[in-house]
Symmetry: C2
Subunit: 420 residues, 2 copies
């Protein structure tokens, strides 16, 4: 081991994984970053691709470009399948990768809570491909409805859009679809837009659980003003692609259900040799080590970190990046033979969500005030723009947002698959 550098393997190039690789890039170690995609995805703006505001490559950044100058960081495009902790190897569909230290930063996927029909017939909103599918499908529904001149029932079914889940993703998607409809309205000269509807379904009694009660009420009011039919205390039980069935017996005829009602860790986590919770997350100790391992760590949406309360940490970027720092520091301590590993403590930076053009809510923390309306939207825009990867991307995205705000059009409304 004297002349061999420690091998660090990171699974997942999300916010946590990329941060980790950037930190390790400066150390005397060999880093392998594994992801099934060749890009880092800026997930918070996925809803803008799904609603034709932004292009795919504005929220997807080539992973290798981050590490152009870091010869000790290698990207390996593959699907992680499991971990053999005994032999210290990561198993992938392109062979094994030996590690000295492994960090699981593989993220989350949609949780359909075992409802197979819903999973099969509705759209998840976690990957770039899913966002493109939603865009193509929603746009296509208008074209198809436009041709069904003689069948109102079928037309209404095609023009009824349902989003399930009152978290930030569901709120933002419902708001963005309702605005998309306003744009479509100008361009379908023969379609009756009274037949178009957007519904937001939430199982609990309010939206945005992480926000203060006044912001939650405000959000519902803004959504309703935008024409979104907000259905609280409503549970989905089945969906066959044509009719959404609710627990209270009601039915909604619709061809479009977008599911943003829950997440779970990616299935690969179950094959890593640690203890997993109900949502598939691997349990880590206060040092972020997977229970029972010294050299396997987990961070972000795929890790279950106990922090005093029953609720897990939110599935947001700051958790992953803050954990990345601690995991990096602890691994470097182990490499240097030090045993005083640090504990992780989450610093809550607040929460924000847009409810469409010129409207957002920002939750109060020690760092920032509680905001609503246009000023909250500006704050939201600023925070997202500076965090976007890619030098000219910030500029082109800013131009598109401004254009969208002022002109109310979306040039991203192209259907890239053909379903004639």
């Amino acid at each position: 081991m004297a002349d061999k550098k420690p091998r660090i393997v990171i699974v997942g190039a999300g916010f946590g994984g990329v941060k980790l690789a950037k930190l390790f890039a400066k150390d005397d170690v060999e880093v392998t970053l594994v992801d099934r995609h060749n890009f880092h995805l800026f997930q918070p703006l996925l809803y803008q691709v799904s609603t034709a505001v932004l292009s795919t490559d504005e929220i997807a950044y080539p992973i290798r470009t981050f590490f152009r100058k870091n010869k000790n960081v290698e990207f390996f495009m593959a699907k992680a399948q499991g971990v053999d902790q005994e032999r210290k190897v990561l198993l992938t569909n392109h062979g094994e990768i030996a590690y000295d230290y492994l960090i699981l930063a593989a993220g989350a996927t949609t949780n359909f809570f075992g409802m197979e029909n819903v999973e099969k017939n509705s759209f998840g909103m976690k990957t770039l491909q899913e966002a493109i599918h939603i865009r193509n499908h929603v746009l296509h529904m208008f074209e198809r409805a436009n041709k069904h001149e003689d069948n109102e029932e079928e037309r209404r079914r095609m023009l009824s859009f349902v989003v399930v889940g009152g978290g930030p993703t569901g709120i933002e998607e419902a708001g963005a679809i309702s605005e998309l409809i306003g744009i479509q309205k100008k361009e379908y000269h023969h379609l009756d837009f009274n037949e178009v509807s957007v519904s937001l379904i939430e199982a609990t009694d309010n939206v945005l659980p992480m926000m203060a009660p006044n912001l939650r009420d405000h959000t519902v009011k803004v959504l309703e003003r935008k024409g979104v039919n907000v259905m609280l205390n409503t549970q989905v039980v089945d969906y066959d692609g044509n009719t959404l069935k609710l627990k209270d017996g009601r039915e909604i005829p619709t061809r479009t259900v977008i599911w943003a009602a829950g997440v779970k860790a990616v299935p690969f986590i179950a094959n890593c040799g640690g203890e997993v919770d109900r949502a598939g997350r691997v349990v880590v100790n206060e040092k972020l080590q997977v229970k029972g391992s010294e050299n396997v760590f987990a961070i972000g949406d795929c890790a279950n970190f106990h922090h005093g309360t029953e609720r897990p940490l939110p599935t947001v970027a700051p958790v992953a990046t803050q954990q990345a720092q601690v995991a990096h520091d602890n691994i470097m301590k182990l490499i240097h033979g030090q045993s005083d590993l640090a504990d992780f403590h989450y610093k809550d930076l607040g929460a924000m969500a847009t409810i469409g053009r010129g409207e957002a809510v920002v939750n109060k923390t020690s760092m920032n005030p509680q905001l609503t309306g246009f000023i909250a939207w500006c704050a939201w825009m600023f925070v997202h723009l500076i965090r976007l990867a890619g030098a000219h991307t910030n500029l082109t995205v800013a131009i598109k947002w401004m254009w969208n705000l002022l002109s109310g059009t979306r040039l991203g409304r192209i259907i890239t698959n053909i379903q004639l």
Copy 2:
């Protein structure tokens, strides 16, 4: 007929079809524009999507947005299948559309000259989907080669890129791939770029047939300086996806063949009741009427217009848009009962082609001088930017081109399909 407006049906929303619909939008007629896509494609920049310079929505513009204010123009998304001239109806996969006047502006598709294996295993370059496939495939080849550490033959096969056809599309594609390789080189720390190659295969003895001889020689020199292996007087006979076979017996091991060696009219043209030529184009008279019909016209790449020489008109936008004007004027004359239809005369505006970043050739005409190098590239850029549809698109594309010129990176290098 007294109180019923004449029904104009246009097949195809390319340069010709959109120009026609815009002209008819100002007349007292009902227009239906039919296309299988919901977007107008700016085909001259397709090679930039296929090589990760631009995003899809920068060269694709929602058709309905053109006609937002024109209530007499209706878009109908469908695949045209044929024409029944007797009954005056266009047949589509979504039913029939009755017309009083019909204009075929359906464009061209790739011509593989009957070589079925080549068609099956190589990439065409006429649609947005094909450009995305090329981008995904080329980028993926680098990722796959990077994992084949122990098999040089397989690596070289993956890293050998062949473009067939020495017209503008082939030239531009080969130049853009060679530059893409320069960018990739900075990011694959363990790949030997001596194993990467780009070849341009042309059956005749020179490239760019529409250009002056000195510009053709210049183009070949620039391509060779960029590392493109230009193979003139070379004919392809077969391709199985692994090995490209040439007529002289040579073989090129390659996983990537991009076919830009010929076009033919879309197959639908054969079902329109007119006389078609060897390339599937429908023969029109000097008034642009389909032979034997008074009220069916054809323009652009799908029309065969005799203009004195054996060679057909070039398959470029100016032919289509100039013909659109004449077809429109002639149809309006027919509607008004006038019989003095105008003849079409093509005004050649010259030709231009880029050979990559900062290099282009512009052919001399009465309108513009003969140019090469950076100044030609600036002229090319200017002409393409002002013709791009979409207000902010011009701005975002200009930003990307400038960024690409100065920084030498391409952020569009994302693989949106997964072929793990």
